[in-house]
Symmetry: C2
Subunit: 317 residues, 2 copies
């Protein structure tokens, strides 16, 4: 989802920071699509895993590499070996392939990390110096990739920046069975005239950014001067901390009580248990000082952005 939106944005802008885009190569497990672009676009299909595949990916020495590839949290937990193979070894192969080119080649690598690098117990608000003690294999693999990114950058092999995205909301597409799916489902489905299940208490607090913000963060990360980033290359992104109650109130404000009435409460102790271990709030000082800025200030904004960007400005009243 993020990859597709980023592609659309790059094609639309035709430039990245001050530089025109002259060429775009896309790589995914399913053949990635790009709209008609003012520059050549190449699509490659394949697993993100082998050393040879990594070498082929960087052979043409791209100036900027967006590394968004990952086996998601649930799958990395269900399939231990696959998670490590894709999320850790795949990342390392990519970094090694860049290092192998040498000769002063030092591309900007934007790595999409995750707040899953953090594990409870948490302070009321997670600061920039809070430890990574993940409680999932996915979070572990992301935390390790962050460490590699920083060391390869320090050694001069690449010019990396890792950004820990908040939970993306409202995630477009079909309802998602991930434990985090309901955070988006309870907004997206009612706006589409469909019922949605809320499996947790309205007191649950979580940390959000809109897809528009996520793309903005990635674009900003691609264009920051390396020197201003400093030696700590991994950042908590700005976001919005909100309770489910606040989400629902925002939906009522933006779309009315008829839409809110489509939310059905069905407690699910398993989901509630998983979600209770997730971060709820951050103080993303360092990222904000570097100019990372969210597109939204309130949860109402998050809903309006969804309506604008995904629903052509309308919804089912």
């Amino acid at each position: 989802m993020i990859g597709r939106k980023l592609t659309d944005r790059l094609v639309r802008d035709g430039r990245l920071g001050k530089r025109d885009i002259t060429r775009l190569a896309l790589h995914d497990v399913v053949t990635p699509q790009a709209e008609a672009a003012p520059f050549p676009v190449e699509s490659k299909t394949g697993d993100f895993v082998g050393a040879e595949a990594a070498a082929a990916l960087v052979a043409e020495r791209p100036d900027v590499i967006f590394h968004l590839a990952a086996v998601v949290s649930g799958e990395a937990e269900a399939d231990f070996e696959k998670g490590y193979r894709i999320n850790l070894d795949g990342t390392r192969h990519l970094f090694e392939a860049i290092r192998a080119i040498g000769g002063g080649y030092r591309p900007r690598v934007v790595f999409s990390s995750s707040i899953a690098v953090f594990g409870g117990p948490f302070p009321a608000s997670i600061g920039d110096e809070f430890l990574s003690a993940p409680l999932t294999s996915y979070g572990t693999q992301k935390a390790i990739s962050e460490l590699l990114l920083a060391d390869y950058t320090r050694r001069g092999f690449l010019d990396g920046i890792g950004i820990r995205l908040p939970t993306i909301c409202v995630r477009p597409g079909l309802p998602n069975k991930a434990a985090s799916g309901f955070f988006s489902n309870v907004i997206r489905e009612p706006l589409a005239g469909k019922p949605a299940i809320l499996p947790v208490s309205e007191a649950v607090r979580h940390w959000y950014a809109s897809p528009r913000s996520a793309i903005g963060f990635i674009m900003h990360a691609a264009t920051l001067e390396s020197e201003v980033i400093g030696p700590r290359r991994n950042f908590n992104m700005p976001g919005l901390s909100a309770t489910v109650e606040e989400q629902i109130a925002a939906l009522r404000t933006v779309a009315g009580p008829g839409v809110v009435a489509r939310i059905q409460r069905e407690a699910d102790a398993t989901i509630a248990g998983i979600v209770s271990g997730w971060p709820q709030n951050f103080d993303a000082k360092r990222a904000m000082a570097l100019g990372f800025t969210a597109a939204e200030k309130t949860f109402e904004d998050i809903i309006r952005i969804h309506i604008e960007d995904e629903l052509h400005g309308t919804f089912v009243h």
Copy 2:
């Protein structure tokens, strides 16, 4: 050095916690030696690197594994590939070999990590929730190994605990050209009647533990109940924060001004620069709550322990 001292202690005690030791296997790049022991001791020689070697190491299903193997900081910085091969891949192969045995095999793995997982800027005292942002490849490899240790433990493949040892002082043996060597040299050499060079200002503060404490920490880590350790498996060990000025004053108190006079001041800007990026002080609350206790309360104690344990109670006045 730690491995040899640990072996001596295990042989002397003949037991670990409440259990008699029935067998000891030693593995090192040079053939490890053990004194006459009341149980069988096997010595293996080899690089700590391959998947096959790792499988052979754990084939007899030891109950407790002490993983102290590492390419040291300077070498890991000088030889990027070797550092990752030994310190990261070697560790991962060991953990994978344990996982491959399966069938409920879940040994206690005591991993010697390092305060090199931390990189400045630091707070006045580093707490248990401070981030790992290493500034060396060695520190990166240790931090990654810690994350693997925690995840393999959480998944039930092993029962790991990582301990971040302070700088060991007084390190026995020959003067060491490592940037940290002088911390021990300025005590050990004068006590042996020899000159020693102090390359930094006396205001430099650092974080110490005696070899006796280090062995005590490792033994304690081997015998802690898994449940009391909790999900965060990596710990800052207790230590002693002291300035070089305090070190020298302690040497004067314990050994007299004649010994102190053997310290020669020869400023070295390179060493001073390296050392300025190192941690100076910790608040090791979690470890202390779990009963990790240093053998020393003052730097005088550190010097007395060296005289007792390494010099048969005497020194060159």
